[in-house]
């Protein structure tokens, strides 16, 4: 079993494959909840895995960078004793979509470059990603094709599965993927030319089915060069409810806040939890001074981080994978494609009078 090669895993074998995998690590996969919603969670048997789901609105990054994470605990009395609470279970995230895999890789670059984040590293080291190709865009809000993050990947995954009807195309993309395959390698066989051709057909079809587009390049220009007038940002920010859903559902967002909380037994934990640059309290200081006081300045902050050359240079790519969660969730059209569109439209209005001035 070699990295970079494609194999075939029949769907009946897949149950056995993941059952065998479950003996060495926990399996995180999409599973149907009582009400019919599909969300990621630990599955007790592979039959629970829901293979034909759309995507999980609550990004699976939470199994590597948890929404709420205990960092360490300490006793509160005079004699301070600190205990590291970092835990990193062996896990396989099965059925994660391409955009979310790209987002995990974005976070990997961010958290492990320059100064390594120990908690993130421990969790990621123990995680294997089995991504699942989108045969068609799961939602009409999806625009991963504009962000080089799907609907299928050529790198970034440990194993990539493509649903070919009665079988999965099983591509190995990393050493970790190779290692996790070794034990159950007897279930796999080499993919034939027909399988590859079928996969190519799926790729072409999926590419043609996207309804949402984000023409982000020009917006990146405007944002990077700080050409967007403050009035445009304030106009965009004027409808923001400050709910923070856009950043809390974003699979790329990395910001966190740190708090000390008291347990019932009197000891304390220090924990970190996701934070949002859209909250007024994000930058507020103890003196009451807030360097980012307006809705507009906070919306500007969000898009500067998502779409500016300065951050592309820093992170290697712009901070959006096109999963469409901010589009789905925002009540007031502050998802990335809408904002890009509104900036482009506003800039044309702003540019026109200037051109007239220069003509005179």
């Amino acid at each position: 079993m070699k990295s970079g090669r494609a194999y075939i895993l029949t769907k009946s074998d897949a149950v056995m494959f993941f059952a065998s995998l479950a003996s060495t690590m926990r399996i995180i996969a999409p599973r149907k909840l009582v009400g019919g919603d599909v969300m990621f969670g630990a599955v007790s048997s592979p039959q629970e895995i829901c293979w034909d789901y759309g995507h999980d609105i609550y990004p699976p990054k939470r199994f590597i960078f948890p929404h709420f994470e205990e960092m360490f605990s300490y006793t509160g009395d005079g004699n301070i004793e600190i205990r590291d609470s970092g835990e990193a279970p062996q896990q396989a995230i099965v059925g994660i979509r391409s955009c979310d895999v790209r987002a995990v890789r974005f976070q990997e670059r961010f958290f492990l470059s320059q100064i390594e984040d120990p908690y993130f590293k421990a969790r990621l080291d123990n995680t294997v990603l089995f991504s699942l190709v989108c045969n068609k865009p799961p939602r009409k809000e999806c625009f991963c094709i504009c962000c080089d993050a799907g609907p299928y990947l050529d790198s970034g995954f440990d194993v990539q599965l493509t649903d070919l009807g009665d079988r999965f195309l099983y591509e190995i993309g990393s050493d970790k993927g190779e290692k996790v395959t070794t034990q159950e390698a007897y279930m796999l066989k080499e993919a034939g030319p027909d399988d590859i051709a079928k996969r190519r057909k799926i790729e072409l079809e999926a590419d043609s089915l996207f309804e949402t587009t984000a023409y982000i390049a020009k917006a990146i220009n405007y944002i990077s060069s700080d050409e967007v007038p403050p009035e445009v940002w304030e106009d965009l920010g004027s409808t923001c409810f400050r709910c923070g859903a856009c950043t809390n559902l974003c699979p790329v967002c990395t910001c966190f806040t740190v708090d000390d909380l008291q347990r019932l037994d009197g000891s304390f934990i220090r924990c970190r939890s996701w934070d949002s640059c859209q909250y007024a309290g994000f930058t507020r200081e103890a003196s009451g001074h807030n360097p980012r006081p307006t809705f507009g300045s906070r919306v500007q902050r969000r898009f500067y981080h998502k779409a500016s050359y300065q951050y592309i240079e820093r992170d290697g790519t712009h901070g959006c994978v096109g999963c469409g969660r901010c589009v789905t969730t925002c009540l007031t059209h502050l998802g990335l494609p809408d904002v890009v569109k509104r900036i482009r439209r506003a800039m044309h209005n702003y540019l026109e009078p200037q051109q007239k001035v220069s003509e005179v």
Binding site: M71, F72, Y74, G76, G78, I80, I82, D84, G86, F110, F111, Q114, I115, E116, D117, P118, Y119, D226, T254, C255, F256, T257, V258, D259, D260, Q262, F268, R270, R272, D275, C277, F282, T283, R284, E285, A286, S287, H289, P291, R292, S297, Q300, R301, Y304, H305, S308, Q310, Y311, E313, R314
Partner: protein
């Protein structure tokens, strides 16, 4: 001359503190507490583990994340001499949850320390030049280590001006130091308050008025400025008017940094992470950044 804020020497490697995890603080003991003003105290601290304290070296301008157990963590700049190896001092104004809890602590109590983080005042690259330090209120705390360093290596520098302003005589911090420094023939100390009283026998007026008494030679002067944003703004404007170039004006920026290591995202201004790339910047580096009051 190209002048950029200096990078600190790295101790203990980039990734770990001696605790083995960069988020887990080292325990420090409060040895002494000095009341500076009604809401400001200076704490003399020593790391409980002697080995840690011996290898704990830092540069003027750097900061630590101070944990008050039971309350939380806040970034605080060093305020003592970097040459003192047995202890270090932090000057804390009681403002928020953590700093108020810090003020309730007593001698012998334990706190947590992570650091040192950030870069430092350019003290190596400015040797041979005139130094002008302008500080306002408790903004003199991050500059205090730099002053100690310059005084200890006084012959390496040219003229040394020290300008200090506060709101009222009661708000003046480091009173003993200022008295001592005023007595030295090789430092020119000027002090002012916005509102004076009968006990005050220095100047009255904002700190920028003191600049009229300083003979600045723009070709060989570096200004280090720290204080409230409004004071920094007018000081920088004044210095530029007096011919100082933008890369010779150095200041220290402030945000509520939650992690200190460039991960939590709270201290970003545009793409600049103050905790790892700052907090010390030349005016040239920051003049185009938004969200600053200057």
């Amino acid at each position: 001359m190209e002048l950029t804020a200096a990078k600190p020497r790295k101790m203990w490697g980039v990734n770990v503190l001696p605790t083995g995890n960069l988020y887990i603080p080292m325990i420090a003991i409060i040895d002494e507490i000095v009341d500076e003003t009604p809401d400001t105290k200076t704490f003399r601290l020593r790391l409980e583990n002697e080995e840690y304290q011996e290898s704990f070296s830092w540069e003027p301008g750097q900061f630590v994340e101070l944990t008050v157990f039971g309350a939380g963590e806040a970034p605080i700049g060093f305020a003592s001499s970097p040459l003192e190896r047995a202890w270090f001092e932090l000057t804390v104004v009681a403002r928020g949850k953590v700093t108020q809890a810090m003020h309730s602590l007593r001698k012998g109590d334990k706190v947590g320390i992570r650091g040192p983080f950030g870069n430092c005042w350019p003290l190596e690259t400015t040797k041979g030049m005139d130094i002008l330090i302008v500080s306002g209120g408790c903004g003199s705390a991050p500059l205090r280590p730099a002053i100690f360093y310059i005084l200890a290596n006084r012959k390496d520098y040219g003229e040394f001006w020290l300008l200090y302003g506060a709101r009222t005589p009661q708000d003046c911090v480091f009173k003993c130091d200022l008295t001592e420094w005023s007595g030295r023939p090789d430092v020119k100390v000027l002090q002012t308050v916005d509102v004076g009283d009968t006990s005050w026998h220095h100047r009255v007026g904002v700190v920028t008025t003191l600049l009229n008494d300083v003979q600045i030679d723009p070709s060989r002067t570096v200004a280090m400025v720290c204080g409230p944003p409004i004071m920094i703004k007018f000081t920088i404007l004044d210095l530029i008017r007096r011919g100082l170039s933008e890369d010779r004006i150095v200041t220290s920026l402030e945000r509520y940094m939650k992690c200190g290591v460039g991960k939590c995202g709270h201290c970003c201004i545009n793409h600049v992470y103050l905790c790892t790339e700052g907090p010390v910047f030349t005016y040239q580096q920051i003049k185009t950044l938004p969200e600053l009051e200057f």
